[in-house]
């Protein structure tokens, strides 16, 4: 593997490769995030922390479905006050490995987003990812803030006012005006966009006639949503000025290359952990490097946005 090919800089942060552990996967403890970093991730995103502790939904919460995953975990987290020391410890361990830490946050109100961001910023993460698009907590929080430009902008403004650390806002794909929402968020000071969150979905077991998730509906991720994510990133990259963490269905090095060609600066990897475990990051990195060598790409920059740039 030619490691040099994969090196990149994102908002001034140096990464050994563009692969980011997506939020909600392996992001629950310092030891697990450290493991993901050791096993090859370029950056690690912690599981979303909110204002107070949540146990989340009851089982079944997550099911592998072919090369895809459906989940409704329900934002299980210890609350931001408890999360902050976990992130401080994680940051210390990741620093030693040269891997940045992205901290994901969520909240139920615009004001709370700012408050949670302030608490989490104490851990000095390299970036705060603002999760305004979890599809699995409608019963507690109502319509996601990602549903329209005004609410997405309001949350961004609240977080921006609360912290100076770079922020990326995580958007949902199931909106008719994604570009408009992204522009509104960038106008309020988002330094980056993470696209996309999981896609609202459900599975029903024919023999019981019941939804398989305890929450009945959930979020679809993995290979099934790769085309949805590619389209979203491709559209956004052409109209916004900030970098994008392209997330959705990346399972191989080729998938990662395609996400970068759509315009992503970094590539989130989540559901692909199902088959390989944390070792998936090293595999995708190797495959991406091999692809670049074979195709004669000298840098990630050379691939970025190739799907829409005039060549």
């Amino acid at each position: 593997m030619v490691e040099e090919l994969l090196k990149t800089t994102f908002l001034g942060i140096a990464l050994k490769n563009p692969l980011v552990v997506a939020s909600g996967v392996l992001g629950t403890s310092a030891s697990l995030m450290e493991r993901a970093a050791r096993e090859g991730a370029g950056a690690v995103t912690s599981k979303s922390a909110g204002p107070t502790a949540r146990s989340g939904h009851a089982n079944p919460v997550t099911l592998a479905w072919g090369n895809s995953v459906i989940n409704a975990i329900g934002l299980t987290n210890p609350g931001c006050q408890e999360e902050s020391p976990i992130l401080i410890e994680t940051k210390k361990r990741l620093n030693a490995l040269g891997v940045p830490l992205f901290a994901s946050i969520f909240a139920g109100t615009v004001e709370e987003f700012g408050e949670v961001a302030k608490v989490i910023a104490q851990a000095e993460p390299d970036l705060i990812e603002v999760n305004i698009s979890c599809p699995n907590v409608a019963s507690d929080f109502g319509e996601p803030f990602s549903a329209n430009p005004a609410s997405a902008a309001a949350v961004t403004r609240s977080v921006r006012a609360a912290v100076s650390v770079p922020i990326s806002v995580k958007l949902a794909p199931n909106v008719p005006n994604l570009a408009q929402i992204a522009k509104a968020v960038v106008a309020e000071g988002a330094d980056a966009i993470t696209a996309i969150n999981t896609v609202p979905a459900m599975l029903i077991d024919a023999y019981s006639g019941k939804p398989v998730l305890k929450n009945k509906t959930g979020g679809l991720s993995g290979l099934a949503i790769k085309p949805i994510a590619l389209r979203a990133v491709w559209e956004l990259a052409q109209v916004i000025s900030v970098p994008i963490i392209g997330t959705g269905g990346v399972t191989t090095g080729l998938d990662a290359a395609e996400m970068i060609m759509a315009g992503a600066s970094l590539v989130g990897v989540g559901s692909a952990v199902v088959n390989d475990g944390p070792a998936v990051f090293a595999r995708i990195a190797r495959e991406l490097s091999e692809f670049m060598q074979l195709e004669g790409y000298q840098s990630l920059e050379e691939m970025r946005g190739k799907a829409w740039r005039a060549s």
Partner: protein, 259 residues
């Protein structure tokens, strides 16, 4: 038509419906569900996630693969619903999941603490089929809590029993009985399933006697497929037994192979 498993269709990781063929009472709190259908690829020590619609989903070790059997002790919401199932009713299974035990050598020492005995008959059967010599140490609070004792004996295992109240066998913890069995039988490997405290004590014991140990750890399983992090073994436990930290019971285990 009942039983999706009969169609042997790839489930892609989702749960499949199995019909209960028979129910065997093991002790006051424990039943073995014999299911119609098999989980041919399952190995001893692997687990399945068992779902009852509208009730919930929990992990259980596999008691037998052909036909599929689950030994379930009533301790919570899902398990108390499972032990009430009658022949003809259904359960939903996803798996097999996890790594399982791997028979090493010819003289095997199996250890079950409390409900942890559930996967041992499956392992003992495989070991005996390979003409191995099998000793099983069972520990429980009281004689009435012992699990699978008679079954294992009838299979041809040599049994050693410890109860905390002394109502059967040695009075005390199973680890004392295990140490005696190590001294007497000089086994090639120790295989254990039970509470973390027992597993930690066994790890120490096996280290002292320079024996390889295969310890099946319990974890809070949610996704069961290595994503959610719920079943991560506490870091201090990993360090104590010499496992890499960030060890996930569902993906890296549930069996820790210590040499």
């Amino acid at each position: 038509m009942k039983g999706a498993n009969m169609e042997h269709r790839a489930s892609g990781g989702l749960m499949r419906a199995f019909e209960v063929a028979n129910v065997i009472r093991e002790n006051a709190a424990t039943q073995t569900l014999l299911l119609k259908g098999r989980l041919e690829e399952a190995r001893p020590g692997q687990f399945v996630m068992v779902w009852l619609p509208d009730v919930g989903e929990k992990p259980y070790s596999i008691a037998a693969a052909v036909p599929l059997a689950l030994t379930i002790s009533s301790v919570g919401l899902v398990s108390s619903a499972l032990v009430q199932l009658q022949p003809g009713e259904r359960v939903w299974i996803r798996g097999p999941l996890g790594n399982g035990f791997q028979l090493t050598g010819e003289k095997h020492l199996l250890v079950g603490g409390g409900y942890g005995a559930a996967p041992l008959a499956f392992l003992a059967k495989d070991a005996l089929r390979q003409n191995g010599q099998v000793t099983v140490c069972l520990g429980a609070k009281s004689a009435s809590d012992l699990l699978l004792e008679r079954r294992l004996e009838e299979m041809g295992c040599q049994l050693r029993v410890a109860t905390e109240d002394g109502s059967k066998g040695f009075q005390g913890l199973v680890t004392a009985v295990v140490e005696q069995a190590i001294v007497d039988n000089k086994p090639d490997c120790v295989y254990a399933c039970g509470p973390t405290g027992m597993l930690l004590a066994l790890a120490e014991l096996c280290k002292r006697y320079q024996l390889p140990a295969q310890l099946s750890f319990e974890g809070l399983m949610r996704c069961g497929v290595g994503l959610c992090g719920s079943c991560e073994l506490p870091e201090e436990v990993c360090l104590q037994v010499g496992l890499p930290t960030g060890w996930l019971a569902c993906h890296d285990g549930p069996v820790a192979h210590l040499s």
